[in-house]
């Protein structure tokens, strides 16, 4: 018999034994609830943690009713205890997510609110007024990006995104995103080199989505590479696939984070040292998009040395 997922433990046979396995922090609450049930008949339905005697705990839901004798004295307790550890874990993840998104939404919202407040007090100084309004606008743009990322994620996950599939030139898309990021790379004095295969590489996909995937990868490279760093983009053919990659000499990715890198909301342990605006959606979106086109994305990286992200996509027919 499995006792809450630990097959090697002898299940407790007496109440006293069972009682001693309840997490010490939860025990007083359960004692009180049971007492209330005995004294007032208030239904007993509680969630608590129960140990397996080896130091690990499962979360359980316990519903019980006292059987009483003719004088109304409780003589037995009958009920059912069910393992809710997985549900508890999912609830925790959901609540972490809500907290995180709340924080990421509130930051630009506070920016807009405060900049507009300052603007209202600055009506007599057009130059300053303009700068506050400009800042408010930039904050709304960040807000829109975040909401769009969340929406795209949800649509891609449910397969609900309307796609316009067509033949796309990887070189042209790449040039567009490099141009788009050039203000940033200029500011950080980074050099970007592009190596294109001699033959025209065309892949089959949705222009907007593929552009977003490549943009996410390149902007990560820019973001996590220090001032003066260098970024190399390469395109080539590998069998029946186009291979696109971006390599940087940035902060790299800790070994422990590699396996989870493309998971939703996952952020590597060393990114907070660089910035705190990220949502953990960028690489997840890249994976959803690339897989949608029948491709594959992966990463090679050494912490402190740099990263290389590679995308393989089916060539256009």
């Amino acid at each position: 018999m499995d006792y809450f997922g630990t097959p090697n433990i002898t299940p407790p046979t007496t109440r006293r034994e069972y009682w001693s396995l309840i997490h010490p922090e939860d025990r007083p609450r359960i004692e009180q609830a049971l007492k209330d049930h005995f004294d007032t008949g208030k239904p007993f339905s509680e969630e608590y943690r129960i140990g397996d005697g080896t130091g690990s705990f499962a979360s359980v839901a316990d519903r019980a009713t006292a059987i009483r004798n003719q004088n109304g004295i409780p003589i037995r307790l009958i009920g059912a205890v069910s393992d809710i550890t997985e549900r508890k874990h999912a609830e925790q993840m959901k609540s972490d997510f809500v907290s995180f998104v709340t924080h990421q939404l509130r930051t630009p919202l506070s920016g807009v609110k405060w900049m507009l407040e300052l603007a209202m007090d600055t009506m007599d100084d057009p130059e300053e007024l303009k700068s506050f309004l400009q800042d408010a606008r930039t904050s709304t743009e960040r807000l829109i990006r975040l909401v769009n990322d969340l929406l795209d994620t949800s649509r891609l996950e449910r397969g609900k995104l309307q796609l316009t599939m067509q033949n796309l030139s990887l070189a042209e898309l790449t040039k567009e995103i490099v141009d788009e990021l050039s203000p940033l790379t200029l500011e950080k004095e980074q050099s970007i080199s592009i190596e294109t295969a001699p033959d025209l590489l065309q892949v089959y996909g949705d222009a907007q989505l593929l552009r977003q995937a490549l943009l996410n990868l390149l902007s990560n490279a820019v973001k996590y590479t220090p001032t003066g760093g260098s970024i190399q983009i390469q395109m080539g053919r590998a069998g029946d696939r186009a291979l696109w990659s971006v390599k940087d000499n940035g902060i790299g990715i800790p070994k422990a984070d590699m396996a989870k890198l493309f998971e939703k909301f996952y952020r590597a342990g060393n990114v907070l040292a660089v910035e705190t605006e990220g949502t953990g959606l960028g690489l997840y979106l890249v994976r959803l998009i690339v897989e949608r086109f029948g491709g594959k994305v992966w990463c090679e990286s050494t912490e402190g040395v740099g990263s290389k992200f590679l995308v393989a996509l089916p060539l256009a027919a």
């Binding site: 907290s99 709340t102 924080h103 509130r106 930051t107 630009p108 919202l109 506070s110 920016g111 609110k113 405060w114 900049m115 407040e117 300052l118 007090d121 800042d135 930039t138 904050s139 907070l272 040292a273 660089v274 910035e275 705190t276 605006e277």
Partner: protein
């Protein structure tokens, strides 16, 4: 005029700017720092009358910064008010346990209200000499 000196430790450039301008308008002298590391340096160099401290920041987080401020004899006495957009209970509890004088949620306040709260925290800390309408 308020003559108190306030250090704002905030990584978001818009929020940092808004706090700086908003508090200067109220007459405070304002220093700013873009992360916990710079915040610690500023706190030691300027010994402000009050610190407004963000939590989620690069390099040194707000809680780590708070811990370091309270460990340092030079900066231990400066009241630190957390100014964050996180309303996670665990963060609030940790900040209080580490000795924060208060916890404010940015999105819940106007700059006007933030200035009011700063004044009342300063009063509470008993460092109000010279503060009040002139």
């Amino acid at each position: 005029m308020n003559e108190a000196r306030i250090l704002v430790i905030e990584d978001d450039k818009f929020l940092r700017k808004a706090c700086e301008v908003g508090l200067k308008k109220r007459g405070f002298t304002v220093f700013t720092a873009i992360d916990g590391e710079e915040g610690l340096q500023q706190a030691r160099a300027n010994i402000p009358d009050l610190i407004l401290l963000d939590l989620l920041m690069p390099k040194l987080s707000g809680l780590e910064t708070l811990e370091a401020l309270k460990k340092d004899e030079q900066t231990r006495g400066i009241p630190v008010v957390i100014l964050s957009n996180s309303s996670i209970d665990a963060d609030i509890q940790k900040a209080k346990a580490l000795g924060a004088a208060g916890y404010l949620v940015k999105a819940a306040l106007s700059l006007q209200q933030l200035g009011d709260r700063v004044i009342s925290y300063l009063e509470k800390a008993g460092q109000t000499a010279g503060i009040g309408p002139s």
